[in-house]
Amino acid sequence: MKKNKYLLLFASLSVLALLTGAAIQENFLKDWRRIQVQGQTDDGPIAVQLRQVVNNNLGVADRCVSCHVSMAPGEQSVRGAPLLVAHKPVVHDPADYGCTVCHGGQGQATEKLDAHGDVHFWPEPMLDKATLYAGCGTCHVALHVPEQSRLQKASLAFERLDCYACHRVDGKGGTLRPDQGGMEGPNLSRVGATAFDSEWYPKHLAKSAAATAGPWKTAFRTIAAEDLPLLGDFLQTRVAASQLVAAKSTFFSSGCLGCHKVSGVGGDAGPDLTKAGFKDPGLVSFEHVPGDGSIKNWMAEHFRAPASVVAGSLMPPAPLSDKEIDQLTFFTLSLRRKDLGDLYLPKDRIRAVKFGEREFATDGATLYGAFCAGCHGRDGQGRRLPGLVSFPSIANPDYLAIAPDALLAKTVELGRPGRRMPGWLKPDGLRAEEMKTVVAYIRTLGATEMEEDPKPARWVTAAPIAGKRIFASACAGCHGPDAKGAEGPALNNPVLLDAATDTFLVETVARGRKGTAMASFLEPSPVRSALTRADIESVVAYLRSLQGGKS
């Protein structure tokens, strides 16, 4: 049976050869080994071994430092290969925080393609250079950023008041004496994160008064009262990540929270976005996405045309510039919060988690921008989109002139049951005091004060019977039979009928709404004759009768 012996000999020698190959591959040819053998310190070559940064509080075990050795704990002095350079000085020491917390990618991997996320099945591709600061969102979720225009105003105020003369912020300014380094005051790039003295202005004043010459006399000027809160906003948002702050403010101006939740706050119509930054490119369809197969590109295209990227999406396309789309993409990528041990909870998050503060600024403009602007438009002009119901213009002066605050507040609080407008007085919506702020802000949108209305809330005494007939001929064309709504809004809505005063209803019909399909019914139009005030009152009486006996 020589055959069997030859078989055994051949198979054994082949196994031996393959095993030898595998051993060489494992012990000599691994990428990280080939990099590490070039590593040198002053004391000689470094030990060739797997290195990693473990931080259980952050839940990282990053082996990135097996190749990027100089970023490993205590190995800053390693050099000898292009990859072996120390991380540039940063606040969050990579030897402590690890790499993936900021950069994304897969810290468990020890091979370049896998670690950088350039492989097919990859849950966390690395953030590229342009979106690097989205990584801050892993921990810093509550930066208290206001909406776009306010942020812009704040930034302009800082420039206008010449604060850059003494202070350097985000690599700009501090130009007072360029030849001597230029700085008189401290660098303010991170004051939003490290906190600053709220009494800075009186102290500035005092120093200026005490000084006899120099920049305190020449560069510093008194600041107008209305500029102080703007400067406060500007300082608050200086967290050394101006890109992220700008992206956040675009998000808080685009009304996304009206439908989406971020960390438990927002509407229910769309998917929760709290961890949208981890969206896996392997699990979304790129079928209708032009451009490359990166999640960044997918998000941008999705903002431009939601329904064509995700079939059946009810999300209205964002009326945004390309730059704003990029910012929204950037912001979405930054939605990657991780649960952190108390030791690593950043100040902003402590404020939100432990003291119940909002993750965004709570002025009226920001609240409106975050919750309402998606449907009602940034300026309250309303939106009309093919295939979707039209969203009313709430800044219409004709509306604001006759709508009492109670009507606005009730509408925001309770919404329009059965329509897309949700009620916002809910644990994951707006708080009671924020409600007031929003209502006050909506008033400023139309720049219209409400006209004095001496009449009580219910004063119409006409009979509903006649109103029903008039409604059927004059109103039902837009508002639908029985006021159930069609092209125009439904008028049988209990919240509307409960909160609207008679004056509001009568005046709405009498004056109409400029800029909408609703014309003044006191004037005749080509398709119908004019109504009298008595007619209008009977229509209102009819609408009241739809309320079901409630007064």
Binding site: K2, K5, Y6, L8, L9, A11, S12, L13, V15, L16, L19, T20, A22, A23, Q49, L50, R51, Q52, V53, V54, N55, N56, A61, R63, P73, G74, D93, A95, D96, L343
Partner: protein, 160 residues
């Protein structure tokens, strides 16, 4: 290995195979070699290449109110850190006997497991511990204190 006299060999027990079976032997040795090589390789597996424990170097901020000779134990670390006029120093609080975590007290340290006692400088005063508690390397750079649990320094090394 007994050899049977030729006379007593039966039909079932013929002469030993005289010729050396080179092919058979080499194939057997090749198989043994391959399996042995494989097993040796496999034995590397249980020895973990990376440990799940955090870095032995850590940064620490001492409380302002820390009195001279009073131990500060950072959360989650078995190290007692002191600060006095000469500077900062760190003493490992892992018992040199069998690795229990010793507790700092007024006199020094006491071990809850087998009753070892240590003086404040780490010297053994009582019990089975064979060596004093080691002092750990401390670096102070720009106000930030870094302790390296993996590197010991001679007793009495204080860093200002």
């Amino acid at each position: 290995m007994t050899t049977t006299p030729a006379a007593s060999r039966s039909r079932l027990d013929p002469e030993p195979v005289p010729r050396r079976d080179w092919l058979g032997l080499s194939s057997l040795w090749a198989a043994a070699g391959a399996l042995l090589f494989g097993v040796t390789g496999m034995l590397k597996l249980p020895k973990a290449a990376v440990l799940a424990s955090p870095s032995k170097k850590f940064k620490v901020t001492l409380p302002e109110s820390l009195a001279a000779g009073e131990a500060f134990v950072p959360p989650g670390r078995a190290v007692a850190i002191y600060k006095d006029a000469q500077g900062v120093y760190a003493v490992s609080s892992i018992c040199t006997h069998l690795g229990c975590v010793v507790k700092p007290n007024a006199e020094g340290f006491e071990c809850p497991c087998h009753g070892s006692r240590f003086a404040a400088n780490g010297e053994v005063t009582k019990g089975p511990a064979p060596r004093p508690l080691p002092w750990l390397k401390v670096t102070v750079a720009g106000g930030a204190i870094t302790v390296d649990e993996a590197t010991t320094v001679p007793q009495g090394t204080k860093v200002a």
